[in-house]
Amino acid sequence: MSSSIANETVGSASVREGRTLWEMLTNTYVLYFVSLAGFFLLWDRVAYLHVFGDSLARPHVVAQKLYMLSQVKFAGTNLAGHIWVSTQRVLIGFGLASVIAVPLGLFMSLNQYANAIVKPIFDLFKPMPPIAWVSISILWFGIGEFSKVFIIAIGTFVPCLLNAYNGIRLIEPELYDVVRVLGGSRKDEIIQVSFPASFPAIFAGLQISLSVAWTCLLAAELMNARDGMGFLIKRGMDTHDPALVLGGMVLIAAMAWLSSLLISLLERKACPWKRSIENL
């Protein structure tokens, strides 16, 4: 009986090892290295040859700039300070939105009356790009912290809610039958099936939300801020300092990447049953 399991998993282990020179050259990791090296070299040459005038900094200049910023204070705080301020905004906005949106999405898909009330209003706001809220949020909340948190929360709200909502709607209806046949109530159906089965969809929503959050943060900070990574980019723009702009871009990309990695790790912890499906 168990031997049939072994039979199925063996197939994936059949990786051919490269023997010829051509196969070694086209090894995935060799290609990755070639690609990255080529990219940075091209960037460096383009900057060095002033293809874009003085509007592109060479890679090592960007790295130097970032190192310098981490040593001295710039606009009141050093690099770590700027990163932390931005991250804080994202965390608060993202946290607020997910805490409200996920339960609301779950509730909407479980209760058709709640759905009939909230869905139309939600659909009204859904096509509105989150960045379009920047002006009105400044109008309402001034240029303080809250206006930035507000935009991030608005932007992340939509994907969080949508995924929680669809996560439950896409559950195989027969799974509910299992609970009913075993003698469970409607409450049991929700606790035993709806919640655990929608977990992966909720995490997918958080993942999307997070990338929206960084975009919104950037929009807010570009419009008005005295600190944060977006501020660095904006200052670079105003003072025509491409190294500073690129430095800011690198930082924000790194933070976006790190935070999405964090969510993936969290998901692996929360759904051990899903992780192993992917590995198979």
């Binding site: 168990s2 027969e174 046949v181 003698g183 759904c271 051990p272 049953w273």
Partner: protein, 258 residues
Amino acid sequence: MTAEPSPTLKIHCEDVSKTFIQKGHIGVPVIRDISLDVEENEFLVVLGPGQCGKSTLLRIIAGLETPDTGYVTLDGQPIVGPGPDRGLVFQGYMLFAWETVMGNVEMGLKLRGVPKHERREVAQHYIDLVGLTGFEKHYPHQLSGGMKQRVGIARAYANSPKVMLLDEPFGQLDAQTRMFMQKETARIWEHEKRTVVFVTNNIDEALFLADRIILMEGKLPGRIKREYVIGLPRPRDHAHKDILELRAMITAQTELVL
């Protein structure tokens, strides 16, 4: 209608019909006027090709669907909804992917508020019975198809139902694993006698397991075409001459659907 039901009568279906509604407005009659009795501890197999309403009949007995006309009784009481007195095994396994084998098997007991150590004990008994000892901590995706369905069977059994309902449980397995699972089913049934209604489209399976076979019409709406009482001794052999002759006789009654 019989005035005095036999004392061993377990399930009684009376003129059950059901029409499904597709695309919001088209009514498709799925089963029509099915009357059927199942005796206590009888192994009844409902045999029919792909689309003949046999699964719907089973879901009505399980209480997951309500018949449009007619009624079903269990021990003389009309069935109004699903309940733990009927265990259902699904064609697509329908295991909880987020629970281990143990978590799946003890689910019914958990829902009924049985204390943890007690339900562990009962669940372990049925895990052992279906031959999954040692796999308690595995998640469903780590099991092969045959093992998954054993979890499904153990889950239904652990709730100590009066009636076991199986809906094409081995439809997705290869021929040999299927024969093995049939043998296991017969063994478990001998061990823990229950009234069983087993739905299948595989005639070998029906002949191997059944006390009685209900043959359905090959098209919608589903009706009962014929009934066969299988008096062969157990354990049976798939390749036995008597079984093969019976098979030839029954297949002659069915139409070829390409």
